[in-house]
Amino acid sequence: MVTPSRIALARKRRGMTLAQLSDRSSISLQSLSNYETGRTAPRSATLNKLASALDFPAAFFQGPPLEELPADGISWRARSKTSPRVLDAARAAGTLGATLYTWIAESFRLPAVDVPSLGRPDPETAAAMVRTRWELGEAPAPNMVHLLEAHGVRVFSLDPDHAEVDAFAVWREGVPFVFLNTLKSAERGRFDAAHELGHLVMHGSEHACSGPEAERQANAFASAFLMPRASVLGHMPSGAHVDQIIRGKRIWKVSAMALTYRLHDLSLLTDWQYRSTCAELSRLGYRSAEPESMGERETSQVLTKVFAALRTKGVKPSAVAAELGLTSEEMNRLLFGLTLTTVAGGGQQTAPTPTRHLSAVSSPPSVAARPPSNPVPAFARP
């Protein structure tokens, strides 16, 4: 039995229009439309053509309906001109990530969700409230991915091919999800994670989570969360020079531009000093990159431990992918840069400084042993 919504989801995941899919699969537009609305169902041969055109295993289309991530509740950190189709593709990938997490949560005890919904307070206060609740005091924030995971946030990687989307966050049924672009510098990754935390905290279901004002608030939250006022005032001099900013950024593991913005925000740099500092940092290449970076990106502890534990039971990531009706490559994209990535030859390696080619997987996907209608894996059953 084919699930119509899964066809639509797979098509969105590939960023295709119905017409493009029709061209690629040699299936008529009308038929495709009928399959997606459920008016008719594809025969086995047609389903295989569809699966091949969409690069999904045929088993994927036969699973139960997937609950999509809510389109309204997503806070996008993306370039303003990013096309809706790219956002749809990222959201569809998010839905697959949520499905993977559901599978993981059935086998593993994961940290309980402890992310407050604050809504009302200004970003500076909201950041201080979360810090207090999480007992961080005024100290520099630890590994942001671990911190989010320890408080129940499910963190995934954004498809590395969607470079124009930096990150997004969404609540689904009381569970917070964050998707991070893992190709950016370690410092920017930390800021993205804190930015998305700001959305989760301040822009839950009842508050607008998109638009320039929400973005400004989330940036202010991230800035205050990563660089608490008292900490910055205690460490950084008034009128700090560029070399001091480049040294100081290591205290909070933030980008030089982010620290410069915070110093201005806290009146430690005058307008004139702020402008000249930004100009000098741009000249040194800090606007588009992070020349003196802290190095390795922060990675997921939960996903790493989950896949390590599965390996001890002889379960390979490809088997998990197959169980969910996904290709190994599809699943690797969700884990890309966050945890072990399977590579050609069946080996595995970590991806501390991910580059796009690492996401390529040459081993063919395993055929799904059974459709994901029964999501409890064999090894976890009593």
Binding site: A139, P140, N143, R247, I251, V302, A309
Partner: protein, 202 residues
């Protein structure tokens, strides 16, 4: 005074762009360049002054061409009213000539006319009469560094007597508050610890 501290700060920022692989003295040269440029830019933008290359002195002068300002590296006495500062390095004849003009002793030999064509927008050149009447002030600065902190003693002063490359008497001195720039307070502990998230099979 606000301008003058901005000038010194710009010099400090420029000095700090020098790296060990730059030639010796790069930081000081960059600081000098930034001092001259910022002194001019701020006065041109905010006070309607004009750029003036007078002899070999890089100056900025007011609209009626009666007063000019340049920069000079002083010594440890810079900024201290009770002490007598000197220029830190020997200076050339042009400084001697503007010092003479400061005392009304004429400055016929200053070759400003050579620069008429090159004055450009926002630049001026002086007639012989104007050059003779010009009063030239210098922003003296003296930088010391303790650890990561920097202190720049400073004053705005008008030289009166110039002997053998050094100013030996000042006509007027306006000591300014020293510009102090603190260092970073480094993180004393090891930073945030690792978080261990238990992830166990159900």
């Amino acid at each position: 005074m606000e301008y003058l501290h901005d000038v010194l700060r710009a010099g400090e920022a420029a000095r700090r762009t020098a790296v060990p692989n730059d030639p010796t003295g790069t930081g000081g040269r960059r600081a000098y360049e930034a001092h001259v440029r910022t002194l001019r830019e701020l006065h041109i933008e905010r006070e309607g002054w004009a750029r003036l290359v007078h002899g070999r002195l890089e100056l900025v002068c007011n609209a009626d061409r009666s007063m000019a300002m340049g920069v000079m590296v002083g010594d440890a006495a810079t900024g201290q009213a009770s002490l007598f500062p000197k220029n830190g390095r020997r200076r050339g004849a042009a400084t001697g000539q503007v010092t003479q003009a400061n005392e009304g002793e004429g400055a016929a030999q200053v070759q400003t006319a050579l620069f008429v064509a090159g004055a450009g927008p926002r630049g001026v050149s002086l007639s012989e009469e104007e050059a003779a009447a010009l009063k030239t002030w210098f922003l003296l600065s003296y930088r010391t560094k303790v650890g990561d902190a920097v202190r720049v003693g400073c004053e705005l002063s008008r030289p009166k007597r110039f002997v053998d490359g050094f100013v030996v008497e000042w006509g007027r001195r306006i000591p300014l508050p020293a510009l102090t720039m603190d260092g970073i307070e480094p993180l004393n502990d090891d930073g945030p610890g690792e978080i261990d998230i238990p992830v166990d099979f159900r």
